[in-house]
Symmetry: C2
Subunit: 219 residues, 2 copies
DNA sequence: AAGAATTTGACACTCTACTGGCACAATGCT
DNA sequence: AGCATTGTGCCAGTAGAGTGTCAAATTCTT
């Protein structure tokens, strides 16, 4: 479960009139309320009415903003474009998993705000099958995009089996690091954990008993 | 998403009286109906009433068998014990990922019935976030068990970071193979695909362009 | 300021998962 | 066969998600 900064895909680039501002405001207010309440009470013990009370909107309005109760948590989703762009620019000579790792480590460090949001977000999902299901569907999309990007980097128009597998393993490694990080409440340095995990992967696949130390990637 | 034969964890070992037989019967009838209907109409477009009609039981009875609508699909779950046992018995000298692969390949081939069930099962989950969420929770359990087993094989009482990572990577590789297999409707030989996937893993990290051929594991 | 366009709230609904209670039927036991 | 046990059906009911409708409020335009 990779962590990237969250952004609202429906947010307008221009700062529109009062209308658009208010719309965006209630949207994020609802999203915030949902994240907080889901994280504390749990998804099933939070009714849409609760969210509406918290955000001072009517129930009818809620469903004008979101198609279903589940969707409110995913109003913001991960911004993976910068990562993909970096990955696309990596030298085709680098083995794909290493390119993946380097591209991830080349991303700017998460801001304290990003960290807080990520931790809260995952706490919100913790006990709900629906939310986790939605999440993995999103991850599936991420994986597909990574595979496409790896293919492009190598000059292929469509991902082949190796591209898909590399994307899967990269995601899995990130997932592993991410889980450790979350277990510590997002307090440690995620990138250090990620680097160590990728180093360990190399050791695991090659049969080398000792993980290699590798210098930080150029940036 | 690893594939192992499905079995009903609540099925009694002894063939009890008429009562127990009937109970098991309606249980599996409901499970069958659910799998079939979810796979064709989709989870959300199938009401519990539909399932009851199909299985000739009252709605009240349904909820005496299962706690919720989602649970009926998971009445049978994957029987991973034989795999874990094999893995536990693997030589500690073998690198963990290879032990994982060999243990998987040492399992008996899936029966045509197992294959049909697996394909149907995944078709049933396809469009539902709830079901996929439940599924990944199960996978999480699988991963934890594998980590514990890898630790035990190496003489550790609790899994360390490397054990967890190896379990994650093994699962991811299996997942990759499994997805390919499902895309072909479960028609090819799963084990061949699995073996090829594990071979490819090594090449991805080393930059070796050609996957190594490896002989079939001893059995 | 006035009218048009858009957004919101209130109310009254539907639909479905899920539960309590009790009579009835099937099974097990002697 | 007769009684105890246990599973099942029916009925009535709760709760919460999601929708249609229209009047009121807000914002945009000129």
């Amino acid at each position: 479960m990779p962590v990237f900064p969250l952004r609202d895909p429906d947010a307008p680039t221009e700062v529109g009139g009062r209308r658009q501002q208010k719309k965006l405001s209630t949207r994020t207010t609802l999203n915030d309320a949902a994240t907080r309440l889901f994280a504390t009470r749990g998804y099933e013990h939070t009714s849409v009415d609760d969210l509406c009370r918290e955000a001072n909107v009517s129930l009818r309005t809620f469903f004008r903003y979101f198609e279903g109760k589940e969707d409110v948590l995913f109003a913001r989703d991960m911004d993976i474009e910068p990562f993909l762009a970096t990955l696309r620019g990596m030298s085709p000579d680098e083995p794909p998993l290493r390119a993946f790792a380097d591209a991830y480590l080349a991303q700017p460090r998460l801001s304290p705000d990003d960290v807080a949001q990520a931790v809260q977000f995952h706490r919100a999902m913790q006990d709900s099958a629906v939310l986790q299901g939605r999440y993995v569907m999103g991850i599936e999309h991420f994986r597909a995009e990574v595979a496409r990007t790896l293919a492009a980097r190598a000059g292929r128009s469509a991902p082949n089996d190796a591209d898909c597998l590399a994307a899967t393993l990269g995601q899995a490694t990130l997932d592993h690091a991410y889980k450790q990080w979350l277990a510590r409440g997002g307090r440690g340095d995620l990138r250090t954990i990620v680097r160590r995990s990728f180093d360990r992967v190399a050791a695991l696949t090659s049969g080398d008993p000792v993980p290699l130390a590798r210098p930080a990637p150029a940036r």
